[in-house]
């Protein structure tokens, strides 16, 4: 197979970017999209040109490194996968393919298709954890968690932090990312003591990083490689509302998992 690739090239945030056209020859239909880019790069390196910078690591759709907007869609045309899980048999021979980086104010471009996603980490630093010391935890079976509850928490927890939700959103909102983490921890008894503080600090961090607000267009769900549902955004909104109510009902009572009603 052969393809014509329009690839975004940009040497850092200070420089203006542009599309450059490359031809990909002798592509095997069983090659992954990233392997196809690798082979284009091998050709560029052999000519002494700088290869196209892009992210890859696990090639199994779990590390969240790869981050390509392919023909206008983050992670390409298929649902529920990352760029590394896209195979060339999905495209017709001779197709023209446009490849761009994640575009969002909170994700400055480092080079070509590589962006800086540390903003997502900083949201996590703001509260995406349970403050529990190493050692001294009670036996794992002391906390009984129903299968359904554990499964729903797992649905949210499967977020890989790739940022496709941000890239797909016209407001560049990180609501689905924050919703996944907040929901995962709020659904489990272990996460409840800090749920009020967590939702507020994480949303404040999200706003502070320059992500936009949610416009309920659900494009994030459509491109999410782990198919994380926008129902978690609804849950995030409820968590936020609840936090406001809890905080306004002074004097504040200490939160404990036993005081919770769902």
């Amino acid at each position: 197979m052969r393809f014509t690739l329009n690839i975004w090239r940009q040497n850092g945030q200070a420089e203006k970017g542009r599309f450059v056209t490359y031809e990909a020859h002798d592509v095997n239909s069983g090659m992954s999209f990233l392997e196809m880019l690798d082979s284009v790069n091998q050709g560029l390196i052999a000519k002494g040109e700088e290869p196209v910078a892009f992210e890859q690591d696990c090639h199994e759709g779990i590390c969240g490194s790869c981050s390509l907007v392919i023909n206008g869609i983050p992670h390409g045309p298929d649902r529920g996968i990352t760029s590394c899980q896209l195979y060339m048999r999905r495209f017709s021979d001779g197709a023209v393919i446009t490849i761009e980086p994640w575009r969002a104010r909170a994700f400055p471009i480092i080079k070509d298709l590589v962006v800086d996603r540390r903003a997502l980490d900083r949201i996590m630093h703001a509260g995406g954890y349970i403050s529990v010391h190493t050692g001294g935890a009670v036996d794992g079976n002391v906390l009984l968690i129903s299968k359904d509850q554990a499964e729903t928490a797992m649905d949210a927890a499967s977020c890989i932090g790739c940022g496709a939700c941000v890239a797909a959103c016209k407001n560049a909102s990180a609501m689905l990312f924050v919703a996944a983490k907040v929901s995962h921890l709020a659904l489990l008894p272990q996460g409840k003591p800090e749920r009020t503080r967590r939702v507020k600090t994480m949303l404040e961090a999200m706003d502070g990083e320059g992500f936009g607000s949610c416009g309920n267009q659900n494009e994030c769900e459509a491109v999410c490689p782990k198919r994380i549902s926008v129902r978690f955004i609804a849950r995030l909104n409820r968590e936020y509302l609840r936090a406001g109510v809890v905080e306004s009902s002074l004097p504040a009572e200490p939160e404990s998992p036993h005081a919770e009603s769902t």
Partner: protein
């Protein structure tokens, strides 16, 4: 070089308790003045950095990925072992210990493995407390499954994404410490050398992968949690960034490298395709709980799977290992797969594959059960191969996966360089000559959460360390080594890509130092590798500059290290004139191709010392078995 494993004497069950009690502690006031460097943020690195931060040390943590959450532990699928005995099926700390020692073919330290089994139960409790959504039973209790090489159900799991969830748990603990200011996190930063001052590890040289700037970071101790080296084979199940550079450069500064030839070939990966393939995708070993491996009885049988009647199928693992069947340990399963393929009975393109068939379990337990257990794995298989494994059997083939070898460490996880600690897959640790399924996550977290924080404190409490400045002469020397190496890479003759060298050395190793090895092949590899290395330094093409974001430069530096490390791997495989665990020497086998171990000559850890311009020097740490009797490892 002297190898002192520092194993506490006395009864096995109380060794770790007594060691912890006898160790010195650092007072809370002094902890604030102590800096520890942690390199790598996988399960071992993230759990260690977060726990050290929580204890009050100042931690500086590095990873080459853009976020600590992307370390390759994230890709572990199957599960994590713990001797909880929640299923009341006869499990205990003693049994997990024995299974692990036996699984490692009696090439690991009793004391280390026992400690690992002891802390395994704490790991599960800690992970639950961190909010890891383990699979649960309807009654709300934690669910278990069984895994390769054992007869009890002791594996805890989160669908087929256990590594991801455990890593995100450790990462969240790390986030807490970053938020508290106890850990300074430096992503997109690669360690390129170790700074040793007066015989102690005191810092590292790193390259900022965005700006290309080199800098020295000093500390009171350095912890390496930089993973394994399977990518030396080019095609492996590892992420493309996983590499040997950090441990290899530490080796060149004086840390012994132990048992490098113990490399695990995982039996269940998707068979290799074309030449441009970047990696081999692992299908979780948990699939062997329900899938049955078979090939046609007849060689070169090109019928499709459904046209081959039951009587003409050879369920070769069930036939060879009737007690364990499809759950035989990884090394045995991989070699059995290779054996049937070598007989011409392999299936799929090039005969590199065997069937992993789910028809029986789907018939017995229904589509829904299989879908719930393995849905994501079946989806992944379909995406890659275009085949539906609910309808036709999967095809699988072995792939380099995990490396049991690594930097030598004593019972306190300290290398032969005082102040340099090595944890997780990066050390040679607890798996001996072969690792059982679901035990790497256990070891990574045991080291990081529960062992290193104690032992490093003892070291820090007992040494007097003056402050080291970034411009100390040893720092400058280390920086100089890195600078000159980078400029050599950028100034070679420029006509071959680094990837082409990587592919070539990988193929060489796969052929001569892969699933089965012999003296002739290893010697020929030892002749070819230096020639390939010379050509690399003459001809490698690295475009761009060193003072910029330059992925090809990063990669070429890693390939350069593989080209040296490959030689060490072959030296070790050549010296070990026995077959044990994952190391199979064709000269040493019993009838029916079963491995022939030689406890008289090789019941030792082979620790190699670097000598510039010479062959590495072998040191031996004898393995004494006081509590278990090494037996022939039989799974038949």
């Amino acid at each position: 070089m002297k190898l002192d494993p520092k194993i506490p004497p006395g009864p096995l069950e109380t060794k770790w308790d007594r060691r912890r009690f006898s160790e010195k502690l650092v007072s809370p006031n002094n902890k604030r003045k102590i800096t520890v460097i942690v390199v790598g943020t996988g399960l071992a690195g993230a759990s260690a950095a977060s726990t050290l931060g929580q204890l009050g040390y100042q931690v500086e943590c590095f990873c080459f990925q853009d976020s600590p959450r992307r370390a390759h532990s994230i890709a572990a699928q199957g599960g994590i072992n713990a001797a909880k005995n929640y299923q009341d099926d006869g499990d205990s700390v003693g049994r997990l210990f024995y299974d692990t020692i036996k699984g490692g073919d009696f090439r690991s330290r009793e004391a280390n493995v026992y400690r690992l089994a002891q802390v395994s139960t704490q790991i599960i409790d800690q992970c639950v407390a961190l909010g890891i959504p383990f699979a649960r039973e309807y009654g709300g209790q934690l669910a278990n499954r069984s895994f390769g090489g054992v007869q009890v159900s002791r594996t805890f799991y989160c669908r087929g994404q256990t590594g991801q969830q455990l890593l995100l748990g450790a990462y969240s603990a790390l986030c807490w410490q970053i938020d508290r200011g106890q850990v300074i996190m430096r992503p997109r930063t690669e360690m390129l050398d170790l700074v040793v001052v007066d015989g102690r590890a005191r810092g590292i040289v790193v390259r900022d992968l965005v700006t290309g700037r080199l800098s020295v970071h000093t500390a009171h101790a350095v912890v390496l949690a930089t993973g394994g080296y399977s990518n030396v084979y080019y095609l492996s199940t590892n992420a493309s960034g996983s590499n040997v550079t950090a441990t290899y450069r530490a080796w060149k500064q004086g840390a012994a490298f132990a048992n490098p030839c113990f490399t695990q070939i995982h039996p269940t990966a998707i068979p290799p395709g074309d030449a441009c393939q970047a990696k081999l995708t692992l299908m979780s070993e948990s699939l062997r709980n329900d899938g049955r491996l078979w090939v046609p009885k007849m060689a070169r049988d090109h019928r499709s799977s459904e046209d081959i009647p039951e009587a003409e199928r050879d369920y070769f693992l069930e036939r060879r290992y009737p007690r364990f069947g499809n759950l035989a340990p990884r090394d045995l399963a991989s070699r059995a797969v290779k054996a049937v393929c070598d007989e011409g009975r392999g299936v799929g393109p090039g005969g590199h594959g065997v069937y992993l068939d789910f028809a029986d379990v789907i018939a017995q337990q229904g589509f829904d059960v299989v879908h719930e257990r393995y849905g994501n794995l079946f989806d992944m298989y379909q995406r890659i191969t275009g085949e539906d494994a609910y309808r036709v059997p999967m095809r699988i083939y072995p792939a380099p996966h995990y490396t049991m070898g690594g930097l030598w460490v004593d019972y306190n996880l300290m290398s032969t360089i005082p102040g340099l600690f090595v944890i997780g897959e990066a050390n040679f640790a607890d798996h001996g000559a072969n690792r059982l399924g679901a035990s790497s996550l256990m070891q990574g977290l045991a080291d990081g959460y529960f062992i290193l924080p104690y032992t490093i404190s003892h070291y820090l409490a007992t040494v007097e360390l003056s402050l080291i400045r970034d411009d100390h002469k040893e720092s400058r020397a280390a920086l100089q080594r890195v600078t000159s190496r980078i400029s050599r890479l950028l100034n070679s003759k420029r006509c071959r890509t680094a990837a082409s060298f990587h592919r070539e050395v990988g193929k060489l190793l796969w052929n001569h130092c892969g699933m089965s090895r012999n003296e002739e092949g290893l010697k020929s590899a030892l002749t070819s590798i230096p020639l390939l290395r010379e050509e690399f330094w003459r001809n490698v093409m690295v475009p761009g500059s060193g003072e910029a974001f330059n992925q090809e430069l990063e990669y070429a530096g890693r390939v350069a290290d593989y080209l040296e490390f490959a030689e060490l791997l072959c030296h070790d495989a050549l010296h070990r004139e026995e077959s044990c665990g994952a190391h199979f020497r064709e000269e040493y086998q019993r009838d029916e191709g079963e491995p022939q171990r030689d406890d008289g000559r090789f019941a030792h850890v082979a620790a190699w010392e670097y000598r510039e311009g010479e062959s590495p020097i072998l040191h031996k740490e004898p393995l004494a078995f006081e509590f278990v009797q090494p037996t022939t490892r039989s799974y038949q």
